[in-house]
Symmetry: C2
Subunit: 495 residues, 2 copies
Amino acid sequence: MSGHNEAYGALATRFQRIGVMGDVLGLLQWDQATLMPQGSADGRAEQMATLGVLRHEMLTAPEMADLLAAAAVDDPWESANVARMRHMQAHASAVPSDLVAAQTKAAAGCEMRWRTARQENDFLGLLPSFREVLRLAREIAVVKGEALGLSPYDALLDSYEPAARSAQIDPIFADLRDFLPDFLAEVLQYQASLVEPVAPKGPFSQAKQQAVAHRLMAVLGFDFDKGRLDVSAHPFCGGASDDVRITTRYHEDGFLPGLMGVLHETGHALYEAGLPAAWRYQPVGAALGMAMHESQSLIVEMQACRTEQFVGFVAPILAEVFGDDAAWEPGNLHKFYSWVKPDFIRVDADEVTYPAHVILRTRLEQALIGGDLDLGDLPGAWNDGMKELLGITPPNDGLGCLQDIHWPGGDWGYFPTYTLGAMAAAQLFAAAKDAVPEILPGIGRGDFAPMIGWLRANVHSHGSRLSADELLVQATGRSLDPGAFQAHLKDRYLP
Amino acid sequence: MSGHNEAYGALATRFQRIGVMGDVLGLLQWDQATLMPQGSADGRAEQMATLGVLRHEMLTAPEMADLLAAAAVDDPWESANVARMRHMQAHASAVPSDLVAAQTKAAAGCEMRWRTARQENDFLGLLPSFREVLRLAREIAVVKGEALGLSPYDALLDSYEPAARSAQIDPIFADLRDFLPDFLAEVLQYQASLVEPVAPKGPFSQAKQQAVAHRLMAVLGFDFDKGRLDVSAHPFCGGASDDVRITTRYHEDGFLPGLMGVLHETGHALYEAGLPAAWRYQPVGAALGMAMHESQSLIVEMQACRTEQFVGFVAPILAEVFGDDAAWEPGNLHKFYSWVKPDFIRVDADEVTYPAHVILRTRLEQALIGGDLDLGDLPGAWNDGMKELLGITPPNDGLGCLQDIHWPGGDWGYFPTYTLGAMAAAQLFAAAKDAVPEILPGIGRGDFAPMIGWLRANVHSHGSRLSADELLVQATGRSLDPGAFQAHLKDRYLP
């Protein structure tokens, strides 16, 4: 089938290197967030900046543009591969090398400082290095936007979610913004008519939580021979190909955040593990944008693992590990799982209020990147937004604008993908259940094979061969349809 | 002082990158040996091969030779830096890129397989990948030897210990070979007249051993804010600048191997931590060859930490952690520490028999690289050598020719540096005690500052500015003098 020319062969060799460098950066990042001694931060920043610059130089080498122009292929995978190469090269070429280096270094340093600042609610202490990270992000947004013909914010968004545009997202988010407050009020009113669920009694030792995590990861099909679970301040899925490393954080007073972090990141990990091995290190062999990645974590955490079937399966395991407690009764546990309560922390938020957190962040980062909000005014703007969207005010910045690693770590334009992912997850899970009736009963027995099999076939194994839209159409029969998400919310949270 | 030209500036920029890449490789290696899932071995091999090739390409870029020819400096540090650059470039240029990649990949794969093979005494199972590693090492030795005008074996040796030659080492080792058997017999005869030391009773839990390790590392001045202690199959000191990661292994039935591993690797770590920060990432800022590195580990493990003073300091700590036992009595413990007994494992060997292990390995690797011994015949040749040199025969290959990671990991020509280091350690410690009378009393109080201060000033802070010989002459008044080592052995092991 494959009929590529010499230029394509040369590109494949170069992108193989670029892909491997990405894996190395993934491992350095994982180590930084889990094990690295604090005093090694500067050295790590230097390492990551050096690799970042090297990768950037490879992507922007003068020959690269010529090779991309000369590449001729007649295989759909290779053709998609070249398209992804062009996308990466266009993004990289738009930004000068020294700006990339400055950003990588500033972000690594700021991320380290953020860990302390968050614990100590010290926004002002973080501000100087935070300002530098934002300044560089804005500079990058502007030069990228000019090169790609996009607004500065869209230029950043496009690097996480190819082809996504504010013009499409803003109306979707506005629609959700209109839907949510009334819906939330309706849910809270309905909940008021119910007996409140009882929280299982802690403390939940880290060792026991970890034992549960390992057990459920194995049930989901996580391969511990090619991956690890560790602890970090902010859960993430990272590492490298065939070495997928997820993290979570444990609170001894509640088992839910740690567990949900693990299920969520396992969803990401299954996507990484299911990517087409034949295209390892090539752009087309990588995951699609961040929204599709998030859909894979949410299809596990929110769609599958908050069903009555899953709760019925997991309740006896939790009772066995943590000890008898009437609260493990499946009906109570399911209610506890799906109880809606506006709160401060995004990663611990329930499914109904989560989009409000994302809408707030999207609005704020659009304003910060656009220059309409000064970073010094972020805490106030954050708290105003929380009040407006969820009716609550964070008591400190650790529970407010310092809670997320994204901005200090240099990730601007990323947040909208969480809610786009939630929508895609609802749509994909509905289609999967239609196609494979065995999915829900399987989950009830702790057998995820029917669901994971469908995801492997319809999402994971495609890598980046299709666009997000093409993939959704092929898998579900239609483009992203916010209605599927709203239908799911109504079905789960209203009588 | 500094009056360098543009070519030197360009070189410094390039070697900074090369130095940083070395740090990244150090971290990947550390991760591979400590935490990496088994199934990720191929991916890790790919990562290390890719970085190895990149580093090699940087060192051998066509402009590099011109820049080195054009570099003009008038500062002794810069001048030494250029000399080290030339040495690195000459070694790298001698070997084609694809050969480097093949070696890195083969060694990474073989090293993973070695872990199982060693546990299962499965020499034949390892043989195919082991043969490939040796084949590539011989190929490299030949092309390097031709380029540098050295014998194949000396070409490998020179990459670990610049300027070392078999012509100098062989007579020193022959001398030692002549000295040792009679000396060993004398020691064993003397020991036979003594009451045997009593071994403290185990089991020694890993957690308690680790607690002792952390405590003693802190006493020695290891900075846990810029380093870690972990567990691996074979103890090593690795990681990166300002992120020095040492490992050890614990046996529950004996506390000595784990403890001595920690003290040994801490010596290496202190050298790394004491290198001149102003020359970070530059060749002149790096440690001297492996012999000087080993001298720094042995000056801690063997010279300082087997003195009566140290034993007097550490005995109460061990009693406190592991529980009362008459065997912790300092006189008994010191005897236990310095009891000589020919045995199979090099890293657990006492100071007197250790050089025999090294002489055997040096002889065997000279024969393997020279083509005078087939790898398939290694187990037999190993066992014959053990019989000849120490009078004992390993019961299996795990306790014999499979015990060390070096050869499967691609490190050929490295072993002699252990005994060269032991000699340098004896000579340096004697000079240090002469210069700073406070050293021994300090050690008795757990105050290593006087000793570490002398090492910082006389060894660590010089980086690679001086040759090993120049450094020894400056620090001790003379070149490497095997007599210092023999005098030390007589002093410690005979009445």
